[in-house]
Symmetry: C3
Subunit: 322 residues, 3 copies
C-alpha cells in the first residue's frame, strides 16, 4: 500500500494527511477551498467553531517544534477540540515502552487524531499504518520526507496572490536535499499544474535525481529566479556547515542569499515565501524578508486555516463513516 | 485519623480518594457502577459532559508520569473542567517554597481538586490532611503505598469479564515489595470478596508480612497461577537489578516472565492484566501481552471511566455540602 | 512616547498594562472596582464567565515563574479564553529566530494578548511597542522594573482592609533595589494618595535616589514600621548573599526579618503582605506569616480577580475599537 492509498478512505476522502505526493488536484483544491472558509474565523471577535467539540487531538511530538505545535494547537482549539501535548522524548518511552505500545495506549483512551512530528522519514506513515481504524494521523513533519500542511499553506498563499497555477514560474531555493518542505511543495505544485518549477542551490544540497520529479535545476540564483512569479526560500540548517557540506554562512549568503539586488531578476510582482523561522542574513536578506514582496507572515496566518481545514475534513469523513 | 476516615465526609461519601484500604464493598461497587455510566462517553461522537464545568483541577506531579497525567487530564477535560499541569520538581518549590505554602497558594486560587503523584509513600494522605475543607485530593500514586484509581480500573476490568468476585482465584505476580499497584489491588480484591488471592514472585521481592493481608505466597509461577481466573502482572523496575535484589532480566524472565507455555497452568478463560507500561520480554512475553487472554488495553480504556467517576462523585458530594 | 502613553488608547482606556507608573488615580480605582466584580466568580460553583470566549491569550515567558504563569492561566481560562503557554527559553528562539520575528509570527496567528515575563527591565514595554495594533501586552514582571498586576492585587488587599489610602502609613521592607514589586507598589501607593510611605532595609539594598519618589528611608526595621497600617515584605533573592551585598541569611533575619516581637511596633490592626513565595525564617518569621495580621493568602486570591479585571478591561476596550 502506498502512502497515497493509506491517506484516503474507500470513498476517496481524506483519512490521514501524510504527504502531498499522489493526492489528486481535486483533493488539493478541496483543501484550499475549505481553508478559505476557515480563514475568516481568525478575524472574528469569537475565533471558535464547534466542529471538533468533544474530540481529542494529541500533539505527538518526537522532535521539538514550538511553531508547528503552536499552530496545530491553536487550530484544534479554535475547532473546539480538547488538545493534549505529548513530548515523547521526555515521556514513558524513556521507561522503555515501545512506540507501538504508546500508540495503542493512546488509542485505548479514545483519542481521535494524532499530529505527529518525528526526526525520521516515514514515521508518520508508519504510525498511520499502526493505529486503529477510528484514528487519523496528520504529518507535522517527518525527517526529510514530507511536511504536507506547510506545503498546502504555501499553495494557499500562492493562490491568494496569483490565482491559477499552470502558467506560473516557481523557484525553490536552498537546501533541497534535507528539506521535507521542498519535497512536499514540489509534489503539490506539480499536481496543481505548475510547469516551470525550478530548484536552485549549491550542488552539495541538490539531490542528483531531483529532475525525475519534473523540475529544472539551477546552481546560479539569479538565473534560477529569472522572471519568477513565486520564490520560496528554504531554511538553512546550521548543522550543514559543521558537516562540511557548506563553506560558511557568509559565503552561502553571497551565493544564495536572497537580496533586493538579486530579486530584480524576478518578475516585478514576485512573491517571496519562507516556512520560517527565518535566518536573516543567511538565506534571506532582512530587507527582502520585511519588504513588499514578502508574504512570510501571511503564510503563518494561512497555516492556521489550512490546519483547521485538514482536521475538519478528516473528522467530517471519520464521523460519517462511523 | 486513619486514611479511611479522611477519605469520607460525614455522610460517608467520597471526599478524597487516597487508598482502597478500608473502603467499604458498597463504596467500591458504587464507583464501579458510576464508571460504567461514564464508559459510554468515550465512545460518543462528542466525548464531553458538563459535570465539572467551571471547576479547576490541578495535576500536582512531584514525579513524572506521562501516562497517569494524561488519563487524569483527559478525564477532567471530558468532564469539562479547567485543568492545569504543575510539574513541581521544576517549579517554585525550587525557589525554596515549602510544600504547604505551595498548597495554600493553590487553594487561595480557588482550585477544587488536586491529583497528586509523589515518590514518597503517604504524600497524598499528608496533602489531604493539609488542604482547606473545600478541596479534594486524588492519589495518582505515592511511593510504594497506593495507586487507588489503578486498582479500581483493574476491578472494573475483572468485573467486565468475570461478573462476581468471591469465587475467583486471582494471582498478582512480580515485584510486590515495591508496588503501590499491588497494595491497592490486594485491599480492593479482599474487600470485594476474593478469597483465593495469591502473591507470586521471588523471595527478595515479597514482603515477609504480606500474608497478614489474607493472601497466599508462591515462589513458583506455575504453581501460583494454577487454575487462576485472573493474573495481574506487575511492572519490573529496572533499578531493582542494579540494587542486587535481582540477578538479571534474563534470569527473571526465565523464572517469572509470563509465557504462553506457563499460562497453560491457568484456567482456559484466564484474563491477563498489567498496569503498563509493559516491559516485553522481562515480566511478560510479547505473545501473551498481545494474545487472546490479554486485557491490557481495555484496562487503559476503563482507566478514563474510573477517573471520570471518582472525580464526578467527589465533586458531586462537594457541591452538595457547600 | 512614555510607558504611560503607550498603555492607553486614544480614549484613555487601558490598551496594555506595563507599569503602574503614571496611571491616573481614576484608572487604578477602576481596575480595583472591576476586580471586585470578578472576586465573587472565584467563589461560584461554576467559576467561568464568557467574556474572552474565542480569544487567544499567550503566556510568553522568557523567565520561568510557575506562580505568575498559573494565576494568569487560571484567570484567562475563567474568562473562557484559549490559553497557550510558550516557554521561550526552550523554543524556536533557540533556532536563532529574533524576538521580533517570534512576535510577528504569533500576531499572524491572530493572538489577542501576550502576558510577558522577562528577566530584562523594559522588555514588556519594548514588546508593546513592536506588536500590531490589535494586540495587547500585560507585563508579568520585567527585570527590576515593574510587576503591575502584583502591585494592583496589593492595592486591592489594602482597600479590602483599610478602606481609603490617604491616611495610611505603609512600609515596604527588604531588597528594594532589586524589586520590581516595590517599584510598582510605590507608584500605585503614591497615586492612590498614600503620604506616609516608608522604605526599610539595609543600605546596600536601598537605591540612593529612591527618596525622589516621595518616600522616606529607614535603615532600622522597628523605626520604619512604627505605627504602620500596612507592611509589605519583599522576597529576598538568595543570590544577593553570594554577591556579597548581604552578610548571611541569619544576620539578615536578625536585622530585617519580621518577627512577632518587632511587629508590636506597628499598629494593632496592621496587615502584613508578601508577594510570595515566602522564605520563612529569612525575611519573615513563620509565626507572622501564618499569624492574624498576615493577609498573604488573600493576596493570592485577589491576584486572580485583578488579572481577570485587567484582561477583561483591555479586551473590552479592544473589542469596541475594532
Amino acid at each position: 500500500m502506498t502512502e497515497t492509498d493509506i491517506q484516503l478512505d474507500h470513498k476517496g476522502r481524506l483519512k490521514h494527511f501524510l504527504t502531498t505526493e499522489g493526492l489528486s488536484r481535486q483533493l488539493l483544491t478541496d483543501i484550499l477551498d475549505t481553508a478559505a472558509s476557515f480563514a475568516e474565523v481568525g478575524g472574528r471577535a469569537v475565533k471558535k467553531v464547534p466542529l471538533l467539540r468533544g474530540k481529542t487531538v494529541i500533539n505527538l511530538f518526537f522532535e521539538a517544534s514550538t511553531r508547528t505545535r503552536t499552530t496545530f494547537e491553536l487550530a484544534a482549539k479554535r475547532l473546539s477540540a480538547d488538545v493534549l501535548n505529548l513530548n515523547i522524548s521526555t515521556s514513558s518511552t524513556s521507561k522503555g515502552e515501545s512506540l507501538q505500545d504508546t500508540l495503542h495506549t493512546l488509542e485505548a483512551m479514545h483519542c481521535d487524531m494524532f499530529i505527529v512530528r518525528h526526526a525520521s522519514s516515514g514515521a508518520a506513515h508508519f504510525i498511520a499504518g499502526q493505529v486503529a481504524p477510528g484514528i487519523s494521523v496528520i504529518n507535522g513533519g517527518d525527517g526529510r520526507n514530507a511536511h504536507p500542511t506547510q506545503a498546502l499553506l504555501d499553495m494557499y498563499t500562492i493562490r491568494e496572490h496569483k490565482r491559477d497555477f499552470p502558467g506560473l514560474r516557481v523557484a525553490i531555493v536552498g537546501d533541497v536535499a534535507h528539506s521535507r518542505v521542498a519535497r512536499s511543495q514540489i509534489h503539490a505544485l506539480k499536481t496543481l499544474g505548475v510547469e516551470d518549477l525550478r530548484i536552485v542551490g549549491p550542488k552539495t544540497l541538490i539531490p542528483a535525481d531531483i529532475t525525475a520529479l519534473g523540475v529544472r535545476v539551477f546552481y546560479d540564483l539569479e538565473a534560477g529566479i529569472e522572471n519568477a512569479d513565486v520564490i520560496t526560500m528554504l531554511r538553512l540548517q546550521r548543522e550543514r556547515m559543521r558537516s562540511a557540506l557548506l563553506p560558511s554562512e557568509h559565503e552561502y549568503f553571497a551565493c544564495y542569499g536572497l537580496t533586493e539586488k538579486k530579486l530584480k531578476s524576478a518578475r516585478k510582482d514576485v512573491i517571496v515565501m519562507h516556512p520560517g523561522p527565518i535566518n536573516r542574513g543567511v538565506e534571506i536578506d532582512t530587507h527582502v524578508a520585511d519588504g513588499p514582496h514578502s508574504v512570510i507572515l501571511q503564510q503563518v496566518t494561512h497555516g492556521i486555516a489550512i490546519r483547521m481545514a485538514v482536521m475538519a475534513m478528516i473528522m467530517g469523513a471519520a464521523t460519517e463513516s462511523h
